[in-house]
Amino acid sequence: MIMLRAEGLGKTFTLHLQGGTSLPVLDGAAITLEAGKCVALTGPSGAGKSTLMRALYGSYRVDRGRILVRHAGAMLDLAAADPRTILAIRRDTLGYVSQFLRVVPRVPALAIVAEAARGRVDKAEQLLLRLNIPRRLHALPPATFSGGEQQRVNLARGFAGGHPILLLDEPTASLDAANRDVVIGMIREAKARGTALAGIFHDRAVRDAVADATVTIEPLQDAA
């Protein structure tokens, strides 16, 4: 079943502070996500993979194209939806694991993940432990964690929501081999549950282990 279909996406950044320079990044990008399958975005660094990911999540606006998302039984165009609709889609349907954990001051790691798990503290705890965050760190805010630990909290939060569509931006970038395998396992389980995934994996091995299809993003020529 198709969970997400994006087509004809175009995006150009206009940098007003740099004299109005135009920076085209996407032109005609397209991607389709099906339940139970994972699509890997590939392409050279800076080509626009992250931009596409964020556009799919609604963090970036697209100038043209559609992003159809299966939400509450209907296909909605996220690119044209109003902010409250996007928030509802993010709450119930579309999850996102970003590259960096945006640290909320003072909130303990367990609370961060539990909030995403809709209050299920037990589930949150399991996820953290599975990602090798020891119990003694659960009550601490992640501000003082290492980069790898922060990324694992991020992952726990992303997977805790149980969203039918999940976007992963460099999920294993700061992780060692053991934790990489944990993430691979979590992705496989998500697929088995019917989750549709898209991911940017810089690690070839991870990509080969989970991706069912690839979409290649080529960098655009700079506009004059």
Binding site: F13, T14, L15, H16, L17, R54, G58, S59, Y60, R61, R66, H71, A72, G73, A74, M75, L76, D77, A79, A80, A81, D82, P83, R84, T85, I86, L87, A88, V104, P105, R106, V107
Partner: protein, 294 residues
């Protein structure tokens, strides 16, 4: 003649069931079978204009707010954001345009056409207003408990023990030691005063709270604590908030939607992370790029 009594969560006293406000415009690309939050707008305004002599404070400003959501109005000094807050909360009448509020029964009311008693009653019950300087809202020569209990007593609460218990519970919720219930606010720090103001405002479970720079003037570590407290309380109680701030990080933390104002106009509005991560308007880009990150 009986004293007009306060009945929360039912009809707001003194308001006539009035005209129903404008219907939500159809959304492009949206499947009509699915409703975005399902609820009706709580507060909405359009075509707001206001001049102070030669100065344009508000120029064709519109805004809308749904139950339970946080809307941030961001801008620098002179942007008109505080003026907008005062117009939305009924404190300052606009030269043109209207502000509508939907009460718990579902009737829409023109805020600036309401009789003064009704507006005051609204501010004491369904609405709250957190001032930038807590000393403007608190009674400095009344104990903390008296400050928190005042809205309860104004609403008709007449049991000393219950008022005191409720006040103590709220002090705990805003992380003030309950043992300080009998202390004067003059003995409190700036952060504690602001938290006391929040307790005093939320004690009657308002549906809509206006906040004017709630973290202004506080030390950075104190700000973080206060922002987290606001975030938790607002989410837990499902309060709708109009938050005026110049602190973009606070807006990102608390608000789902935001509006950027410059010179009395709304230059950009939308999803908070979209406006901050992918700003379109030159002023928004300037604002976002100017924020120092530690």
């Amino acid at each position: 003649m009986a004293n007009p009594s306060f009945t929360p969560s039912t009809a707001t006293p003194g308001l006539d069931p009035g005209v129903h406000g404008p219907a939500s415009p159809a959304l492009e690309g949206l499947d009509p079978r699915v409703k975005p939050g399902g609820d009706e707008k709580l507060l909405w305004a359009e075509g707001l204009h206001l001049r102070f002599g030669p100065i344009t404070a508000l120029d064709d400003v519109a805004a809308e707010l749904w139950p339970g959501e946080v809307l941030a109005i961001v801008g620098e000094s002179g942007s008109g954001k505080t003026t907008l807050l005062n117009v939305l909360s009924g404190k300052l009448p606009p030269d043109a345009g209207a502000v509508w509020y939907r009460d718990p029964v579902g009737d829409a009311h023109d805020v600036h056409a309401m009789p003064a008693p009704a507006l005051r009653a609204l501010h004491r019950s369904d609405w709250g207003f957190v001032q930038q300087n807590p000393r403007d809202s608190l009674r400095m020569r009344v104990t903390a408990g008296g400050n928190v209990g005042e809205r309860l007593m104004a609403a008709g609460s007449r049991h000393y023990g219950t008022i005191r218990d409720t006040a103590m519970d709220w002090l705990r919720q805003v992380e003030i030691e309950p043992s300080r219930i009998d202390d004067m606010p003059t003995t409190f720090s700036g952060g504690m005063l602001q938290r006391l103001q929040i307790a005093r405002t939320l004690v009657t479970h308002p549906r809509l709270v206006f906040m004017d720079e709630p973290t202004g003037g506080l030390d950075v570590s104190v700000q973080a604590r206060l922002l987290d407290l606001i975030r938790t309380l607002v989410a837990r109680l499902g309060i709708a908030v109009v938050l005026v701030t110049h602190d973009i990080a606070a807006a990102r933390l608390l608000a789902g939607r935001m509006m950027v104002m410059q010179g009395g106009r709304v230059v950009e509005s939308g999803l908070t992370d979209q406006v901050l991560d992918d700003p379109q308007h030159p002023y928004t880009q300037l604002l976002v790029s100017s924020v120092l990150t530690a």
